[in-house]
Symmetry: C2
Subunit: 147 residues, 2 copies
DNA sequence: CCATATCGGACTAAAATGGTCCGATATTAG
DNA sequence: CTAATATCGGACCATTTTAGTCCGATATGG
């Protein structure tokens, strides 16, 4: 339940789908190649995303992945938590029984606040925004992107 | 370099010292017992804190640990990073060479922002504040602390 | 000098992470 | 229908990290 490379892979995957024609099915291999993700690992990851209702998986010939919702509806937080589980940055905050001190510990509320803040930040970013930041290279050709 | 139980142990340890008479040396065993930290593990942890200049370690008979600075000068961030290394929540953000995509990846700036925010939140909390939140039980006896 | 108590580093166990493999199943082309 | 394609879904494995222990060396107080 931490931000790992799996998280980043998931983000890249959804980002790729967000950049494709809406609702189009993209082959796993294509995504893996374009985004530098180990293909078998992407398969596992995709299942988590599908289970969370973010993407649709089409099996069989000409199969692949597609978004279930418009990119503007998918938040970064949703993808992160689909990939790595609920985002919690302190074991103490995760399972209350592991920490009978919580009520007494003044640090507890700080962890909670930090977590809320972090999740809010990620929740405010949607994939249409991210995709838009990625598009320019195709539209504005040869602008000042070289450093 | 993540928030783990070691982080929490470190916080509790410094918190205990902050609650003691300023500059007093407290035995490791006492801290371990009072704060429910495995004593040998605290020893290892204390070395990290000492290395970071947060606490002073007194060896020999009647030895133990003491703060190097007034509690008001010690931030939660300092303790966290002393215990677990620099706080970074994305491997991608940690080592640039591991992620040649960083400049192109729109997620990158979000990770960076989230990290700044998180560190700022922790940096604004000092141990005199935390200690103050913990004191009441001794002063206000038998108030509404029972649920 | 001796008892006490930490140093500091080697060591181990368990969990999480990153990744692979493969039989089963679904879909499409022909 | 059948063959080819491509994912499912879960078992499996290697590496790294985490949590924790142990112990000889060293420092200090009495
Ligand atoms: S003891 Fe659980 S948050 Fe401090
Ligand atoms: S690829 Fe490194 S932050 Fe996205």
């Amino acid at each position: 339940m931490q931000l790992t490379v799996a998280t980043e892979y998931a983000v890249r995957c959804v980002l790729h789908l967000a950049g494709a024609t809406a609702g189009a099915v993209v082959a796993r291999r294509e995504i893996a190649q374009a985004r530098a993700i180990p293909a078998p690992f992407l398969a596992k990851l995709a299942q988590r995303l599908a289970h969370a209702g973010l993407i649709r998986i089409q099996a069989g010939a000409r199969g692949g992945y597609a978004l279930c919702q418009p990119a503007s509806q998918i938040t970064l937080l949703a993808v992160v938590e689909a990939a790595d589980g609920e985002l919690v940055l302190q074991p103490c905050a995760a399972k209350p029984q592991a920490c009978p001190r919580s009520p007494a510990c003044p640090a507890h509320r700080v962890w909670a606040k930090a977590r809320r803040q972090l999740r809010a930040t990620l929740a405010h970013v949607t994939f249409d925004q991210l995709a838009a930041q990625e598009k320019p290279p195709t539209r504005t050709r040869k602008s000042a992107w070289t450093s």
